[in-house]
């Protein structure tokens, strides 16, 4: 009866509040090698474990109690709850004669629940409202009017995972483990690899996680068109297979290899690449890199293109509670046509003044094509206030 009651509460929380990305910057830098140490998701992201909550107060932020409700109430061991809200203010300049676009909007409002039925079997559900960068009515009242149409649950899955390390199997909706999964979805390695915002697919996934390595294999398919909008993937039209394997060394370096093969009614996408991280304790600096080759085949056009995306970033943790990052991104949709490329430089400053709170400033300058006549340069500045329960 109590479990039913808590499930009802969790369901209500979900109705109140769709993304579950991670902070890949915290691997190694927080003293933890595997993402699943701090997240219930075996590949990282989403609701954090009690270990992760302790880390958020003890090492990542300047202090505070990272526990649910700031420690005011402790859920029973079979239940984990959480919520996350992000408010964003951004200025976007797309390089045209029009004035830069300025927007203030709730970027994320999610709730999370994990119910453990046994030591091995659990149900994970996340839900919330899709953020709307450009609402037709940007007033606060206007944004509330459209809430019902933006209800979304992009992660819900049943998982068998008998221990922190070892094998697992899960089925449901989530992102197949692949590549660097940042909080910001605009990075090319997410946007152009099938991992843009609200692109989670329905999957059957299995894997094995150990302290020094992990591997995941996932069969995926987009939600059927008959499903309601709240369950739809936005851009992914392919079904297929994704695989990711990662090896870690001395709690300071990792190398991952990955592939994703997708077959759709309009196009087939075959991609593969590598991910790497190097943590230098002396400088408290983390290098992160990802590169993928992407072959997109369009049978109706009897043509295709081979492109590439990459990310190369350096994140420094100068003092507890602070994180500073700079990155270079590259994307070229067709490697045989030089003008189809994009380069971007990103700057990110994160401040964690207290457990549960984060302030983020993000800037990006993007050169489109070769930067010649007709190739616009764009910029984005964003400020975020993030609170999680």
């Amino acid at each position: 009866m109590r479990r039913l009651l808590f499930c009802a509460v969790a369901g209500w929380l979900i109705l109140l509040s769709g993304r579950a990305f991670a902070y890949p910057q915290f691997q190694f830098s927080s003293g933890t090698g595997r993402c699943s140490q701090c997240h219930y998701d075996p590949a990282g992201g989403g609701l954090i474990t009690s270990w992760g909550r302790d880390e958020s107060g003890d090492t990542i932020s300047l202090g505070g109690d990272g526990a649910f409700l700031h420690g005011a109430w402790t859920p029973p061991s079979w239940l984990a709850l959480g919520a996350s809200v992000r408010l964003a203010l951004l200025e976007n300049n797309s390089g045209g004669p029009a004035a830069p676009e300025v927007a203030f909007f709730p970027m994320q409002a999610d709730a999370y629940a994990r119910v453990a039925f046994t030591d091995a079997l659990s149900l994970y559900v996340q839900g919330g409202f899709r953020g709307d960068t450009r609402p037709s009515d940007s007033s606060i009242g206007g944004q509330f009017k459209t809430l019902a149409g933006r209800l979304d649950t992009n992660e819900h899955y049943l998982m068998w995972k008998p221990s922190g390390t070892g094998p697992y199997v899960r089925a449901g909706r989530f992102f197949a483990p692949y590549g660097l999964r940042f909080v910001e979805h605009i990075f090319f390695v997410q946007r152009y690899t099938g991992y843009n915002l609200y692109d989670e697919t329905y999957n059957l996934s299995a894997g094995w996680v150990e302290d020094e390595w992990e591997a995941h294999v996932t069969a995926f398919t987009p939600p059927p068109n008959s499903f309601p909008d709240s369950l739809q993937a936005v851009e992914t039209h392919e079904s297929g297979l994704a695989a990711y394997a990662e090896k870690r060394w001395n709690s300071m370096a990792m190398l991952g290899v990955q592939t994703r093969l997708g077959f759709g009614s309009e196009a087939n996408r075959f991609q593969g690449g590598a991910v790497g991280k190097l943590w230098l304790e002396k400088g408290r600096a983390l290098f992160m890199a990802e590169a993928d080759l992407i072959r997109l085949q369009v049978p109706a056009a009897s043509a295709g293109e081979t492109g590439m995306v990459s990310y190369l970033g350096l994140t420094i943790f100068p003092k507890r509670g602070w994180m500073v990052g700079v990155a270079h991104e590259f994307q070229q949709s067709d490697l045989s046509v030089r003008e189809t490329g994009r380069n971007a430089i990103d700057f990110e400053l994160n401040f964690f003044p207290w457990a549960h709170f984060e302030l983020l400033a993000f800037g990006r300058y993007q050169v489109t094509g070769t930067g010649g006549a007709g190739d616009p340069n764009a910029s984005l500045f964003m400020f975020q206030l993030h609170y999680y329960l």
Partner: protein
């Protein structure tokens, strides 16, 4: 000292890789087919059919570009594309930010992609 020794060559390799990528690859000849099936799958859907814009679930300004056929009829029935008339097609103005906010506002298209779309319009904008 050990870290410094590891750091420098790796940094040099990374910087070199970044410089290589920044230049880009390939030539200046665009052999991509000016066909709607190709343009929709490789340019319009990944650039325009995003969650807050012209996806099936949002359809900003009643424009749905999430798939080949629905995107085609949206653009032609809304007169964003006038077959064989590049200068009369408002899609081209929007992509070039000519007197309007640029589309897509969050990720401008390279000029080469816009030229490919213009070549398709010049060819009569068939649903091929």
């Amino acid at each position: 000292m050990h870290n410094r020794a590891m750091f420098s060559p790796r940094l040099a390799v990374l910087a070199g890789l970044a410089a290589l990528l920044a230049v880009g690859c390939g030539g200046t000849t665009d052999d991509r087919p000016p066909k709607w099936s190709f343009i929709s799958a490789t340019i319009m859907e990944p650039s325009c059919a995003t969650v807050s814009c012209h996806s099936a679930i949002t359809q900003r300004a009643s424009i749905d570009l999430h798939a080949k056929d629905v995107g085609y009829y949206t653009l032609l029935n809304g007169f964003y594309v006038i077959p064989s008339d590049v200068t009369g097609s408002s899609l081209v103005y929007l992509l070039n930010a000519a007197g309007s906010l640029r589309m897509p506002p969050d990720n401008p298209l390279p000029a080469a992609d816009i030229l490919l779309i213009e070549r398709w319009i010049e060819a009569g904008a068939p649903n091929d």
